[in-house]
Symmetry: C2
Subunit: 197 residues, 2 copies
């Protein structure tokens, strides 16, 4: 068990070190402030209406973030797979209820930074400000690219593009969720697939 946790933390530290260097002491501090959590299939780590009180780093598995519209339909805003962070950062900062829910689509292991330690951790390891500056920058530009794709290509083109870019991932999630992420109905996705094989 101890060894297991160590390996988990190693994944996060390796990821951080892709962006900033860390001294052994800093590594130790980070390890001291985070913890791992196992999330069962279909379990929620955040439920809309509740306040988000952690950042989640996916070590293994898949999370989805989604909203419920008035008429009861779900809309997937984003997925997180290995080495991605997910949270409702606005709810986290303002401590107001979140519009979003975050759910595991597989048995998933996450590393957690809790609200109550986040500021202290960032003060003790200021390099994390830079690390997250770069993480948010990437997430932001990736989301802008997504807006660009939504506006400039048809649903069919978006499906093929996503399929070509992340073929392994498409295998792992139900098609109706992919449809929701791409912004159309499962029936329409079925039709696209029927055309071309």
């Amino acid at each position: 068990m101890e060894i297991q946790i160590l390996i988990m933390h190693t994944e996060l530290l390796a990821h951080i070190k892709r962006f900033v260097s860390l001294t052994p002491e800093e590594e130790k501090i980070v390890k001291g402030y985070v913890h791992t959590q196992d999330v069962k299939y279909k379990e929620l780590v955040l439920k809309s209406g509740q306040v988000c009180d952690a950042y989640y780093f996916v070590v293994k598995g898949v999370l989805r973030m989604y909203t419920l519209t008035d008429n009861g339909t779900e809309h997937i805003v984003q997925f997180a797979i290995d080495n991605w962070w997910m949270s409702d950062y606005t709810s986290f900062d303002t401590q107001k209820p979140s519009l979003f829910s975050i759910q595991a689509l597989e048995p998933t292991t996450v590393i957690v930074i809790d609200k109550k330690v986040q500021e202290t951790l960032f003060q003790e390891v200021p390099k994390l400000e830079r690390y997250f500056r770069l993480i948010f920058q990437r997430a932001y530009t990736a989301t802008l690219m997504r807006v660009h794709f939504i506006f400039s290509s048809s649903g069919e083109a978006r499906y093929h593009h996503f399929n070509n870019s992340f073929p392994e991932f498409v295998q792992r999630i139900p098609q109706y969720m992919l449809a929701s992420y791409l912004g159309f109905t499962p029936e329409f996705l079925s039709k696209i697939r029927a055309k071309k094989i």
Copy 2:
């Protein structure tokens, strides 16, 4: 002129200080590394195909970031007004050509951080890492909310929502650009407006 520039810089420093505290020395360093630039109506600060080599902070005016699709139609990915940063951060970091163009929609004044000084500036004033961490976090979550709106509401609903949220801004830009930003055609926007007055 000197006074004018000082006022400009004050706007940026005031904005930074909404997120992090700055000592007088740090303020001085920041002032030393940035400069202002006046951008004429319709002038481009970034042209797609070129490498983006600066961050731009809008002091006064409006910028738009857009792409050209194969068939020649423009798609506006975002606007920047007073106190917003705009850049193609991916192109900036990788020094690869940008897909986007950035253009002024009014005579606009920006404060510029050039690529060649950015790393040095951040090293000398590490608080800027935190500042931009928070800036990117907001930009990221705002863009996620936009994706949510695109998927969960009709074009008409999006128009009314935008109109209610930013009535003064809607006055300042041509309607066909608003249509492009909201993801539909100018003709459709005309129809929406005809319905309701």
